[in-house]
Amino acid sequence: MAGDTSGTAIRVARLTKRYGTVAAVNDLSFEVRAGAVTGFLGPNGAGKTTTLRILLGLARPTSGEATIFGQRFASLADPVRTVGASLEISGFHPGRSGRNHLRSLAVLGGLPSSRVEEVLKLVEMTGAADRRAGKYSMGMRQRLALAATLLGDPKLLVLDEPANGLDPQGIRWLRDFLRAMAAEGRTVLISSHVLAEVAQTVDDVIVIHHGHLVDEGPVDRLSGPKQVSVRSPRLADLAAAIERAGGQVSRAEEGVLLVSGMDAPQVGDLAFSAGLPLHELAPRAASLEEVFLELTTDDPGTSP
């Protein structure tokens, strides 16, 4: 696998998908950097899976287009070696063993049977490979789906909610797995409705809601504006001093102010010069989860 870390891996341009009068995806545009791990985030029903299905040629857009390395999926010369995708954990016959499921896909892709053993080892499924897939636990099904995505040793992985149904150990395994994939230089697009599942893994995030793009960029930027948490027995005097110095204050809890527009040393220096005692001074960023919820929570009356 030669990791392409330059340029754009995925480009979605003005994509719309309507089912009757309902727009599952609505004029959506974004790009995914090659070589980056990108989280594709949004609550359930936001349009993530529909977008991915269109990207992978499984659904037809109403308008707009989605391309992979500059081409529509159907036009890719060698799809199996370009994109590995997992959209459904139930995408296998329950009566067929995991190994035979992978063998059938390997034969279809013109891949050697030795590759099946390699990917089974990668996802730690060798021991269970001869059991029928219908008997697998949720975690094993997710691993089998991941094994299928890796068969062609592709440059791009597209994973739809791969952490769904996983227990904490499974999520940790998935996180390590994705890190390993990223370390090899692959581009990874991973969708989730739970930011915490992917926050520690992704470089960039794309957040959609009701089929619209609501934010995109490096995950660090999503963490929101920095604030300073400060505790003092003379809170009113401190608040007045901060506001006179150009900062903004809000009351976080009893006895604690949240200060915006100033960093912690500036607040400390200001309190010292004003002769105000401080019992606590700490930088604080809004959690990713808070920002995510703020971006994807409907205001009353605005929900369709």
């Binding site: 499984l58 659904a59 199996v80 959209l87 296998f92 016959h93 035979n100 059938s104």
Partner: protein
Amino acid sequence: MSRVLQSELLKLRTTRTALGFAVAGVLLVLLFVLVGVLAGNPTTIANKRAILSIGDPLAVVLLLFGVVGATAEYRHRTVAAGALIVPSRLRLSIGRMIAYGLAGLAVGALMLVVAFAIGIPLLAGKQGPSLTGSDYAQAIGGSLLACALGAMLGVAVGVLVANQVAAVVGTLVFLFVADPLIVAASSEVGKFLFGNALMAIGGRGGANEHRLAFGAAVAVILAWTAVALVIAGWVDSRRDIA
């Protein structure tokens, strides 16, 4: 195409669906031959040949085999896994159709062995003229062809309908309700229906006023299969798959 075919053949071998249909076929053939010989008392060439021409009842089983196999791809969502490797769904469907046609041949051959192993000794004790080499050849050829074409047509129907329950029920209703009603209304039209054409290929008696001649029946089934595949291919290419 060879990769698609190999993959489909591997898929056929790695579930119990084909085995289940083969067992059902054996039971049907046993019933057909035993009842035909013991209760039918065949004494003419046509009646004796009909006992060994198991393509007549078996083609319907293989038609359902094709329907179930093709719709299982949608039911278990494996169709998407294939389309992520070979984006041309028509290519996948044609490969699947050929694979099921070959499986139909294999199942038909197995059933012929069963029918001949039981039927020939039983028929030897019956009065009337004995079957000749051409009679056996006609029974073998017609049965194999009916089985293969039945399975292929079933795949086309399955791809077209996609929903497994609807496809199976629809096929059964067409074969056992609509087909007889149409034949009763007009045998001239009815003999061109695929159920009757399959019977004419695999079955008994050759051409009569309600049946097409062998060659014409093959042409009719091929036409049904081609039309179903073209329509299914067009529908499938426009269908969003999960």
